[in-house]
Symmetry: C2
Subunit: 330 residues, 2 copies
């Protein structure tokens, strides 16, 4: 059965019934003109991100479940990146009438799974027909102190919370495989000679990224953001907002064994994925501390400019032009 | 110059520069991972509405300015409908790369004009390419007491805050005229034999609706909502949420002279527009008071069922089936 055969109102009813359970603080959830939330006394964090079929994802390699899951993760990641706690989700859904009800349901299965993971509650949304699938999410959360991109100081170390480049490499693999893999149902896929053990973590990082809780990182960070467009471009943003520069250690960039193995197969430098691939959804932060447990030091904040120190100790300027393309330019 | 020739980042920069002025309470606006808002101590009202080209509007009869203006109005209307005060706006913007920068700018001119009217501040958003223009707005506001759709009691009177049907009739006129009218620049258009005096208020109500502030209506209302899908369907929702019925007086429905005149020309019953046209964005509320200054009494709340009393005093059942189509069925 297709969405066009059902109509907007029954679809909204389905969502209302499904997401009617209210968490603490929700005085009124889905179904009225607006949701009503009890005030918490903490500063509000508000963010929004959209995902458009053919731009942010493609059903030639992603399932509706994964798309729904990812929408929640990318929005939650922005609240975590401020050192906050996500609480409430809004979701606008536009899709062609030819979309199957089953796909609609699976997309919201993915949304629900991610909501449970992060402890957020769906409090409102809108449903419309559209030429392609268009999702717009907004997350509202709380944060005692908001960790901005501004705040890094010369001498601070630069940290990331996990391996970089997996997501971008996973996307490259998915585009080679040219079919969706229902990892959420435990399904596997092969791309010889790469084993599932190599493929799985990479495509999972792309299809169903998990936002990183700031936890103890927030206590030590002087500036923080999440990595969505790639380490280089996002670090350059943090530096611009803070009015500082950066020296990156190529050697310090954490990359997974899976990324190394798959990159070799794709004849790519794993660091290209790590520097400019994007959609890592790891946290990038600066701290005056010389080490932070659970995070990887990838460089240090300087007065100005962006410099890379390669494995042999050579220094190279990181060109701003390089941010929007793959790799680092001299 | 087209959006594709500019790229996402410069567009975001333009918006950031333009909407950087922060209102009270905004600790951090556009440009970081999330906006930060000082807590107010009042309950939060949160709502979202999307508008899709070809579904909610069409550039064959609407200008980008009008579309931007309307997006803000329809979202603000939902906060007003809870008896609240809108404060903060999020806006996700998706458009084809072929869209002209001039249209993008004009759309945000419309957004800005409406923001000023309502006193809301843009605190976040996202920009993406998309197959058609897709806008997703979210508004966050405050409300001391939230006026729900539930709350109407048998014996309450039913009120609306203004003329109904103008917007739907305006849309019918626009579809006949088949060209946009830049009413925001004082431009006029004719559709003989109708005069501009008749056309102007009708198409303005459709293209640039103004949300109605609840003001004193909130003090007396037992239940409230805004009329977006038409009086009949929206009243039926209010009744369902309140667990009551309604008796509508056909005679009490406020319709404008412009609507009467244009309807005659279109060979339509003005009441068809008023009952089922939609997009009026007037407030619909119930109150135990026998009269409310500035509002029109259109009926009374009963125990159950929905009944219409026509001008001759005859009673007719309002069929639920009729809500989604034009007019009232026996």
């Amino acid at each position: 059965m297709k969405l066009a055969g059902i109509g907007e109102l029954p679809l909204v009813e389905k969502l209302r019934d499904r997401f009617s359970r209210k968490k603490t603080g929700v005085l009124l959830g889905i179904g009225d003109d607006a949701a009503v939330i009890r005030p918490s006394g903490l500063p509000l964090l508000i963010t929004t991100d959209m995902m458009v079929e053919g731009v942010h994802f493609d059903f030639s390699y992603a399932t509706p479940y994964q798309v729904g899951y990812k929408l929640v993760s990318v929005n939650v990641s922005d609240v975590y990146a401020m050192g906050g706690t996500p609480q409430y989700l809004l979701l606008d859904f536009g899709a062609p009438g030819t979309m199957e009800l089953k796909s609609f349901t699976r997309l919201f299965d993915g949304v629900e799974a991610a909501m449970k993971l992060y402890g957020v509650s769906l409090v409102g949304g809108d449903v419309s027909s559209a030429g392609e699938l268009v999702l717009s999410g907004a997350v509202i959360g709380y944060g005692k102190k908001a960790l901005r991109r501004a705040g890094a100081r010369a001498g601070d170390r630069i940290y990331v919370t996990g391996n970089l480049g997996d997501s971008a490499c996973g996307l490259a693999l998915l585009k080679s495989m040219k079919k969706p893999v229902e990892i959420e149902k435990g399904k596997k896929a092969l791309l010889p000679p790469l084993s599932w053990k190599v493929i799985r973590p990479l495509i999972t990082r792309h299809l169903m990224p998990t936002a990183v809780r700031p936890g103890r990182f927030a206590d030590t960070a002087s500036a923080m953001m999440d990595i969505s467009d790639g380490l280089l471009i996002d670090l350059s943003r943090l530096c611009r907002e803070s009015g500082v520069g950066a020296l990156l250690y190529e050697e310090g960039i954490p990359v997974s064994d899976a990324l190394r193995e798959a990159s070799a197969q794709l004849r790519k430098d794993p660091l290209d994925f790590a520097f400019a691939g994007g959609e890592d959804y790891e946290l990038l932060f600066t701290s005056p501390r010389s080490s932070v447990a659970g995070a990887f030091c990838v460089g240090e904040i300087t007065g100005q400019g962006m410099i890379m120190q390669d494995r042999r100790g050579r220094l190279r300027k990181i060109s701003a032009k390089g941010y929007r393309h793959f790799g680092v330019q001299d």
